[in-house]
């Protein structure tokens, strides 16, 4: 009886989720499969030859330029993640622990304000701020602090990290905030009661209990930034390409879709492996949560 009841429930569930499932299949799975298929086909200069080959992958994995750009992408997104999470934690902590309960939703609302502007415009505005005749340079020149505009503040890795960290800050603040909110405040009093200072209580109680949020924030920032295309193009001035820019060049400019696809699949695999390591960490920390 119970079993057939469950089956009926399962049938109903499947029926209900069928439309979005089909949609996801068409929008997500089909393009993925197309890319995967392309990556095993031969490039015939102007057309794609329908013959199975592993050459694209061999070329991608052997190419020192690809390796360099992939490593740079990993490095930049790791740096962005580090900066974003490290800056997001104090903000989340402040909102969760210091802000009065009735003001918290206002603070969260304020944190999401950057989303009101398009991502592209935000990135472009950083260019305006950091540029040769940008806000910073004109201000500093106007104040007589510098004679010539600074050139090292735009078109380099630092400026990419700065821009991306700003763009992804809310994504990092929110999960950390949620995990901090879930901490029973009497646990912190218990830590103090058992002889620990505020700092040690933070280290032994607050931080371990906030780790699931920190790991979620890390994933949420890391995965999209590694594939970011706009920021390296605009803020990096096209001189510091990341993996997405390389894929774009192969796919469109050089019209080598099989090679571009192989690059994309490779990048996806690397991101997947890194994410799985994070998920494993996440589960380890989650296992001990209530």
């Amino acid at each position: 009886m119970a079993k057939s009841g469950l089956d009926a429930e399962a049938r109903q569930g499947l029926t209900l989720m069928a439309p979005p499932f089909l949609y996801a299949l068409v929008i997500l799975a089909a393009p993925l499969l197309t890319i995967l298929t392309y990556s095993f086909l031969k490039d015939g200069y102007l057309e794609v030859i329908r013959e199975f080959t592993l050459d694209n992958y061999l070329q991608v994995w052997a190419d020192p330029i690809v390796r360099k750009i992939m490593l740079r992408s990993l490095f930049v997104s790791a740096l962005v993640t580090l900066v974003t999470v490290a800056l997001a934690f104090p903000i989340a902590y402040y909102v969760s622990f210091m802000v009065r309960p009735e003001r918290k939703s206002m603070w969260l609302f304020l944190i999401t304000i950057p989303f009101w502007t398009s991502y592209l415009i935000r990135v472009f505005l950083w260019k305006v701020i950091l540029g040769y005749n940008g806000v910073i340079n004109s201000t500093l020149t106007g104040l007589g602090i510098i004679d010539e505009p600074l050139t090292f503040i735009l078109y380099n890795v630092n400026s990419i990290v700065l821009t991306l960290a700003h763009a992804y800050a809310p994504f990092a603040i929110l999960p950390i905030f949620v995990s901090l909110e879930k901490i029973d405040r009497s646990l912190l009093e218990a830590g103090r009661d058992l002889g620990e200072s505020r700092a040690m209580t933070f280290w032994r109680v607050t931080l371990p209990l906030a780790m699931p949020g920190v790991i979620a924030a890390t994933l949420i920032v890391f995965i999209p930034t590694i594939g970011d295309y706009v920021t390296p193009e605009l803020i990096g001035g096209g001189k510091i390409p990341m993996i997405a820019n390389l894929i774009q060049v192969q796919m469109l400019a050089l019209d080598n879709r099989p090679l571009g696809s192989a690059l994309a699949v490779t990048a996806m695999l690397i991101v997947a492996v890194v994410s799985l390591i994070f998920l494993f960490l996440n589960r380890r920390f989650l296992k001990v949560r209530q």
Binding site: D184, E189, A190, G195, R204
Partner: protein, 380 residues
């Protein structure tokens, strides 16, 4: 001759002293001049309804709340400048506050980090503490997999392992079911006798306070209304409010006919004229203008027709309601002439043990109530 617990406590030095402790939250006056002394080795309870300031008082002793004025001393030392983590107190929190990311053993060992003893020695201490609270062999378990009663025990072990001078318990039993609560009450008493540490318990459950405490401070609205041993509190409450809060008490309107230094002659609705000695008269009734007489349900006896009794007085009554509890029966009685003083008819509640051979009487039965003036308390 052996010393009784009372003798030992009477000779004990003060462990906690509160001197005119005031606490304001903004305009709200949470503690209004608390003066009390808790003695070393005592099981002391702060009892009162929610919002009476009992938890605030406990938290000022623990160091989680600053006091607005006055002084708190623990073992003779002023505590104003001493933060919570440096005070010789440990607390069992209402929610138990068991660290969910640690095992049972790690929870119990939490406060031992700065202890200079070696790892093996600490592990032995943890095992001992767990054995003391009946959780032997639970050390490796994840804390979040424990039941409410087990969490409670972990919280106790975690606090007691540090050998504090004072253990503070903030409504530790309120989250447990009735059976478990009664069992834990007995265990806590035994544990307190065994370790000899001063226990300060906050509770809103008067029965719990009576069962466990050497002395009880009853608090209302930030003030201590009465501080006494359980028997004194139950038998001689200082005012109607305390009497009402501790157990069940019947109240009948009364009128003072004459009064001198040794006592008073009063007329009580339904009970007639009675001489009451001074010790049965409570004058702390400032806020309550009406003169009233109270008595506990178990101090009077229902007697069948023609049945003899040894009580000096008896009154006719009619049974209005019967509530049967198995071991006890509660009778609500309408006393003859109870409306005489102010015209309001009222019932009183009498409890009778269901002893062998004693029948439960039916609603509507005419009966007699046998009583003694010694069980009455006059509030004026």
């Amino acid at each position: 001759m052996t010393e009784t617990r009372h003798d030992v406590l009477d000779a004990a030095r003060p462990m906690i002293e509160c001197q005119d402790v005031q606490k304001y939250y903004g305009d709200y006056h949470a503690l209004r001049g608390i003066n009390l002394t808790i003695r070393e080795g005592e099981f002391f309870s702060l009892l009162g309804p929610s919002g009476c300031g009992k938890t605030t008082l406990l938290r000022t002793i623990a160091g989680f709340e600053d006091i607005s004025s006055g002084a708190v001393l623990i073992d003779g030392n002023r505590m104003e400048e001493v933060p919570a983590n440096k005070r010789p107190t440990n607390m069992v929190f209402q929610s138990y506050a068991i660290f969910p990311h640690l095992t049972v053993a790690q929870n119990v060992a939490f406060g031992l980090r700065r202890d200079p003893r070696g790892k093996d020695e600490k592990a032995r201490l943890v095992d001992e503490a767990l054995a003391m609270v009946g959780l032997k062999g639970y050390g490796a378990r994840a804390a979040h997999a424990l039941s409410g009663g087990q969490r409670q025990r972990v919280a106790l072990a975690r606090a007691l392992i540090l050998k504090p001078k004072v253990l503070l318990l903030d409504e530790p039993l309120s989250a447990l079911d009735r059976k478990m609560r009664e069992q834990m009450q007995v265990e806590l008493i035994k544990l307190q006798r065994q370790v000899g540490i001063t226990f300060v318990l906050v509770t809103h459950d008067q029965e719990e306070a009576l069962v466990m405490s050497d002395r009880i401070a009853v608090m209302f609205e930030g003030e201590i209304a009465q501080l006494d041993g359980p028997e004194a509190l139950y038998a001689r409450p200082v005012n109607r409010r305390v009497a009402d809060f501790i157990g069940v008490m019947n109240f009948l309107p009364a009128r003072i006919l004459s009064e001198n230094g040794e006592g008073a002659k009063v007329e009580i609705a339904g009970l007639g004229e009675v001489d009451l000695p001074a010790r049965q008269i409570s004058r702390a009734n400032a806020d309550d203008e009406v003169v009233i007489v109270g008595f506990r349900p178990e101090t009077m006896t229902l007697i069948g027709p023609g049945q003899p009794h040894t009580q000096p007085r008896e009154t006719g009554a009619t049974i209005d309601e019967v509530v049967y509890y198995g071991d006890m029966t509660y009778y609500d009685l309408r006393l003859d002439g109870s409306a005489r003083l102010d015209g309001g008819a009222r019932t009183v509640r009498i409890s009778m043990r269901n002893l062998f051979g004693r029948d439960v009487q039916d609603v509507g039965t005419r009966t007699r109530l046998a009583w003694s003036p010694g069980s009455l308390v006059l509030f004026r």
